[in-house]
């Protein structure tokens, strides 16, 4: 292979300082050849792998390496080459040396690459890949204003390409396209464009693209709190088996957020917890966000999250305000709740959970009331108001109606004695004389049976075990393939976030 030749050539002219960029360039070239073979063989898997390898190189990218790579892949002097290099900062003198240094080895490369791709015709896959590389580089360098035109140009090019092998690269490009606009704060501008892209992806049956774009659109809407539109889009957009775990996690998270706003707490909790669980360990920020929302939803549902939720590694600090909030709700102390909400109001509004916290007030009152009804068999409404610390002009009348509603909703078991102004809690009595234990027992048995059924369904049997034994050779081959696949999946989980 050509790479081997380069390897031998390289160490000789380069001193120790320039050797790391050399190796980066070398890696990039390897990736390029991977994409090339993938494109010819129409193997999407190879391209996925190329993208993954690129992410590993991301930190090492710099301007000279990139320009060298561009001149390697694209014919120098072509329109695309000049446009892409114009985005790169003008390199310093050392970089120029570098380029010249690179020049002579380029001769070798172009010679070999022309044999691979006859007629100096470059592949659309490589073209898109170059866009992607430059875009990632610009975003990493925080040059968002340069990144925007670059992204737009690439998207314009993508619209005219219809190749399955480009899809993987395209979905990454969409992501960075949206990211570059988000970082400069004009996300609203590209909404129409994203919708058009989503339509194109749907027409081309590009499922990965659809998935990515749907998430980007949801993110776009939620950025401006347009929950209504987001929900409408989500319910209308086609759904299918998830292709990428990351995109599925994001989808679940956005879904959870929408559901929370629309007061469907049970569903919201499910999707948020699932998102938090599915997210890879490396994606700490994402998991913290998921946990914050999940905590609030659980509080709104009247559950108290366990202490371990707040003590997860690396999250203690971020979840601190929510921990204190939970504490206030658990005790049912309105005063404490108000203090916590005030103390962390800036955190809550930056997390955009402020309105949800306002909704929690009602739960605090409920918990407080339940505590009172447990501890007192008879208490005057004035005392209830005092204990709940209702700050209003007419606390007794307030307390009366609050207690009345709580009784009606079944939160407490009591009656109001209007003439004397008392709340009389009913005797709990012997719970074992009722049907209650039976119900509890029944639900537990149902849960266990369900779990057993699920487990049976999830059992895996070795393939073809009932048919003739496959030859030892074949089996070894298959196992190897499986292992490779498993490794790929594990790798994929780690990067990207």
């Amino acid at each position: 292979m050509t790479q081997d030749v380069e390897m031998k050539e390289l160490p000789a002219p380069s001193n120790s300082a320039s050797s790391p960029p050399h190796s980066t360039l070398h890696h990039l070239k390897e990736i390029a050849s991977l994409i090339e073979t993938g494109a010819y063989a129409r193997e999407v898997r190879r391209i996925v792998r190329a993208v993954r390898l690129t992410m590993a190189l991301r930190r090492k990218l710099n301007a000279p390496v990139l320009s060298a790579f561009l001149s390697f892949v694209l014919p120098p002097g072509s329109e695309l080459h000049s446009r892409l290099s114009s985005y790169l900062p003008k390199s310093t003198t050392t970089a120029k040396d570098w380029l010249q240094d690179d020049e002579h080895e380029m001769d070798v490369d172009t010679a070999t690459s022309t044999t691979q791709t006859p007629g100096k015709h470059y592949l659309p896959e490589l073209e898109i890949y170059c866009y992607l590389l430059v875009l990632i580089f610009l975003i990493d360098q925080k040059k968002y204003n340069e990144a925007k035109p670059c992204a737009s140009a690439s998207i314009a090019r993508l619209k005219n390409l219809n190749r399955r092998t480009v899809d993987v690269l395209a979905s990454r490009l969409f992501f960075y396209y949206s990211l570059s606009y988000e970082l400069t704060g004009d996300l609203a501008e590209i909404r129409g464009n994203l919708l058009a892209l989503h339509r194109i992806a749907t027409l081309r049956h590009d499922e990965l693209g659809q998935e990515t774009l749907l998430n980007l659109l949801l993110r776009n809407y939620l950025h401006y709190n347009l929950y209504d539109q987001a929900e409408k889009l989500r319910s209308k957009a086609p759904r299918f088996e998830a292709h990428s775990n990351q995109q599925f996690c994001r989808y679940l998270f956005y879904l959870g957020k929408i559901r929370t706003i629309q007061l469907e707490y049970t569903d919201a909790k499910e999707s948020l917890l699932q998102a938090a669980r599915k997210a890879p360990i490396a994606a700490l920020g994402f998991r913290v966000q998921c946990n914050k929302w999940a905590i609030i939803v659980r509080l709104l549902l009247g559950e108290i999250p366990e202490r371990t939720v707040f003590m997860q590694k690396g999250m203690e600090k971020a979840l601190r305000p929510y921990f204190e909030l939970t504490n206030a709700v658990r005790i049912g102390d309105l005063e404490l709740f108000r203090n916590v909400a005030e103390k962390f109001s800036s955190t809550f509004s930056s997390d955009r959970t402020h309105n949800l916290i306002v909704r929690l007030r009602h739960n605090v009152i409920r918990t407080g009331l339940r505590n009172i009804s447990i501890s007192y068999s008879r208490i005057s409404l004035a005392d209830v108001a005092k204990k709940l610390r209702l700050n209003s002009a007419n606390p007794v009348a307030d307390a009366e109606s609050i207690v009345a509603k709580a009784i009606r909703d079944g939160a407490i078991d009591a009656t109001i004695d209007h003439t004397n102004g008392w709340m009389v809690s009913k005797e709990t009595g012997d719970i074992y004389s009722t049907n209650e234990p039976q119900f509890a027992f029944n639900s537990r048995i149902a849960f266990c049976l369900n779990m057993h059924n699920e487990a049976v369904r999830a059992l895996r049997f070795p393939p073809n075990s009932h048919k003739e034994k496959e030859s030892a050779d074949k089996r070894r081959e298959r196992q190897q393939q499986e292992q490779e696949l498993a490794k790929h999946i594990a790798e994929e989980d780690d990067d990207e976030f």
């Binding site: 709190n225 347009l226 929950y227 209504d228 706003i261 629309q262 007061l263 469907e264 509004s349 309105n355 306002v358 909704r359 007030r361 009602h362 009152i365 209003s392 007419n394 009348a397 307030d398 009366e400 109606s401 609050i402 009345a404 509603k405 709580a406 009606r408 909703d409």
Partner: protein, 184 residues
Amino acid sequence: MDPKFTEVSQLFERFKAAVVRHDFDTCSRFLSQLKVMLTQFRSLPPLFEDTPNAIHELSLARDIYEHAVVLSVKIEDQDAFERDFFQLKPYYTDVGNRLPPSPQEYPILGLNLLRLLVQNRIAEFHTELELLSPTALENPCIKHAVELEQSFMEGAYNRVLSARQTVPHETYVYFMDLLAKTVR
């Protein structure tokens, strides 16, 4: 000035005069005429073309729809309210940065919140609430609706009943009456 524009504004003046006279039948007739005429302006939603006097046309249209919303409250027609409000909404959200803010904006948004509360559409109520900025939440009209929802959830119905006396805007009375009826 564009002849069409002057025609619409003249009709709008007559419409406003009718509102002052409390002649609601004439008002509704004028209003449907106005709405038909508005469709001829190309700068209005959903086209949003950038014509030279787009700003004038947009603000006139916004004015008309604001009046339509208020009128629908006066004739106590909830469906018409919903329709008119949704037509009005793009003027606040999509072209809000191009027009000077309308003094009617917050009262009308508050009115809509109240309507959702009366119709017991709490999920939509909260969705609308998320769209509002912190400054909007400080506005007495909106605060009124938000506080009502809270007392409603807590069950402090006596507060809901007493809130009728403290309405920030005269148009709120209709919905408050409906709400009071629900509470009882």
